[in-house]
């Protein structure tokens, strides 16, 4: 899967500038995890808007890996963007004090949502919009927390697979330590995206590109050598997470209803 990085870079910078200015903004807030997705979003924003118009917020939890913070700091230093550290431990632990039976999934979701609260609050303070950091692979597989890391105002990387993110990151000269490490949500110690998903990004990106972008049929996929069980697993993940890619379902009662037949772009009148 080739990617025209200069073109993508030019288009995404234009996208960030244009969608922001139409909404009356010229600044963004971005949550920096130390991972490659938020690093790429932050690089694009800094190059599009100037580093003074980007606030990178690092939001460690007490179990977060120290490397995550140092990698996030490397992005801040490379770009010269504004930055802030907001610990989310007290927010998350404060809630779970009375929820002693919560498992790691509930805790992980709460961490993602605590970060969302911080980012949207900081966006008010900084007079900015929240920049998204979810890539196309995650969006399609539903590998993200609804109203957590999936929440943003504009998302420059939502139509790029993880493999594309790596290519673009190299093009943008994202720090090497970030390019080299294994992708992780870092919600608990030793977590790895690929271990948790049960397949590698390289495998699934190839399949998603065929299935979604090229609309290759199931029969053709098998002929191309994709394993039947793997295809089924991925299709199930896509179908099972459709709710995360849609707004809440509204019951239709009137002749014209929000979310059914009220068709206006967000850029209406901009």
């Amino acid at each position: 899967m080739q990617l025209n990085c200069p073109l993508v870079n030019q288009v995404l910078k234009g996208f960030i500038r244009d969608e922001l200015s139409k909404a009356g903004f010229h600044r963004v807030v971005v949550g920096l995890s130390g991972g490659i997705d938020s690093a790429v979003s932050c690089f694009l924003a800094a190059r599009a808007l100037g580093p003074e118009n980007v606030l990178a917020v690092m939001m460690p939890y007490r179990t977060s890996s120290p490397e995550s913070l140092s990698d996030a700091r490397a992005v801040v230093e490379a770009l010269g963007v504004k930055s802030e550290i907001v610990e989310i431990t007290s927010i998350v632990d404060g809630y779970f004090e009375a929820q002693s039976r919560a498992n790691s999934l509930r805790r992980g979701n709460a961490m993602a949502r605590a970060r969302m609260i911080v980012l949207f609050d900081k966006s008010m303070e900084f007079n900015a919009l929240v920049l998204g950091t979810s890539n196309k692979t995650e969006l399609l597989l539903g590998y993200g927390t609804l109203f957590g890391d999936m929440a943003s105002s504009i998302n420059p990387i939502g139509d790029l697979y993880k493999a594309d993110i790596f290519k673009l990151a190299r093009y943008l000269q994202v720090p090497q330590s970030i390019l080299d490490k294994k992708p992780t949500a870092d919600l608990w110690a030793g977590q790895s995206d690929e271990d948790e998903l049960g397949f590698t990004y390289a495998e699934v990106d190839e399949l998603l590109h065929e299935l979604i972008d090229r609309r290759v049929s199931r029969r053709e996929l098998l002929e191309k050598g994709f394993k039947r069980d793997f295809v089924q697993l991925v299709v199930n993940k896509i179908r099972g997470s459709q709710f995360k890619r849609r707004g809440p379902v509204v019951c239709k009662l009137s002749p014209r209803s929000v979310s059914h037949d009220f068709h206006y772009l967000r850029d209406w009148g901009m």
């Binding site: 080739q2 025209n4 993508v8 288009v11 234009g14 969608e19 068709h263 206006y264 772009l265 901009m270």
Partner: protein, 331 residues
């Protein structure tokens, strides 16, 4: 019957840079030549004129702001010596209108809001895109040709893309006819975006006498996996070059700039000669105004070397089409 005479020649292609101090004189001279030309029918087959492709980024649903954008651009094109300025599809309204369609629709026969634009086109011809409402309350994705302060022709988009990211048939009615319009530049054909992807439209325009065909477009860029820009932009260029060569006409393509809800319009407006060469092209991002001189003698020469139009067999095409239509209706 429209006629044209050779105007003082200008450089072949150039980008608009500054206002000419002789603008008023130039306009007077052009008007004089046009009036003179109307008495000299034999000169209709030759002549040079300058077109400006206005690669603008209209605001979604804001008619008055977009009207001002048109006025400013027309003035600028005129000061650069353009005889014809071409705007993109739905240039007065923005593209992904959806439920805004009835709110921005205009009846071209009764449109006081258009008066400033028409007044601005007294000494320059203009093609712009708008939403037309008919007396049957149908809404059309339309394009108007304006000259000497009046709308001379309206083309209603014939092919409304309703697939993938497009949903036009939900909001617009389909146009039902295709006519060239007489202009000082000879018969002119108008098409809107998807129309050109049905080469029968260009075929009909050319058979109807068109020497210059204008395609207004709001085509979002898609496909970033080759080294050559958007895959869709490459598709347009291939199409325009091939069709210009096949039909030995000038094709003027005006695509818009800007973004609507993440749909990125990459511009890439261009003028393609009757031998399929790109003689002027705009930037592939952002607003731009690109000028090109068209020479009707290029068409004459192209048709001498490749007389495919002379040899075209309309009866054969019509006969076989009639048979195919009949057979389809039987199956």
């Amino acid at each position: 019957m429209a006629h044209f005479i050779t105007l003082p020649s200008r450089c072949r292609t150039r980008r608009a840079v500054a206002e000419s101090p002789l603008r008023g004189l130039g306009c007077l001279a052009r008007r004089f030549f046009r009036v003179l030309a109307s008495f000299v029918p034999e000169l209709t087959l030759t002549g040079k004129f300058t077109v400006a492709l206005a690669q603008v980024s209209p605001k979604l649903g804001l008619l008055s702001e977009n009207l001002q954008l048109h006025l400013d651009t027309i003035r600028r094109a005129q000061s650069e010596g353009a005889d014809l300025v071409v705007f993109p599809e739905l240039s007065l309204t923005g593209y992904i209108l959806q439920d805004l369609v009835p709110d921005v629709a205009i009846d071209p026969l009764n449109a006081p809001s258009l008066q400033p634009l028409l007044q601005g086109c007294k000494d320059i011809a203009c093609v712009f895109g708008f939403v037309e409402v008919s007396d049957r309350y149908n809404y059309y994705n339309a394009a108007a040709y304006v000259s000497e302060g009046r709308i001379r022709h309206v083309h209603r988009k014939l092919y409304l893309p309703t697939y993938g990211m497009f949903d036009e048939m939900r909001f617009f009615a389909m146009g039902e006819s295709l006519r060239t319009v007489p202009t000082p530049f000879g018969p002119l054909g108008l098409l809107i975006c998807e129309d050109l992807w049905h080469p029968s439209t260009l075929y009909l325009h050319v058979q109807d006498g068109a020497r210059v065909v204008v395609t207004l477009s709001s085509s979002p860029g898609r496909g970033v996996r080759t080294n050559e820009g958007f895959q869709t932009s490459q598709g347009w260029e291939t199409l325009l070059k091939a069709l210009s060569q096949f039909y030995t006409v000038y094709n003027l393509y005006a695509n818009r700039a800007g973004i609507e809800d993440g749909a990125y319009f990459p511009g890439g407006s261009m003028v393609v000669s009757p031998v399929g060469e790109v003689v002027a092209r705009s930037q592939t991002s952002g607003e731009d105004l690109v000028l090109a001189e068209l020479d009707l003698d290029e068409i004459r020469r192209a048709r001498l070397f490749t007389p495919v139009l002379r040899d075209e067999r309309l009866d054969l095409t019509l006969r076989e089409l009639t048979r195919i239509v009949h057979q389809r209706s039987q199956s």
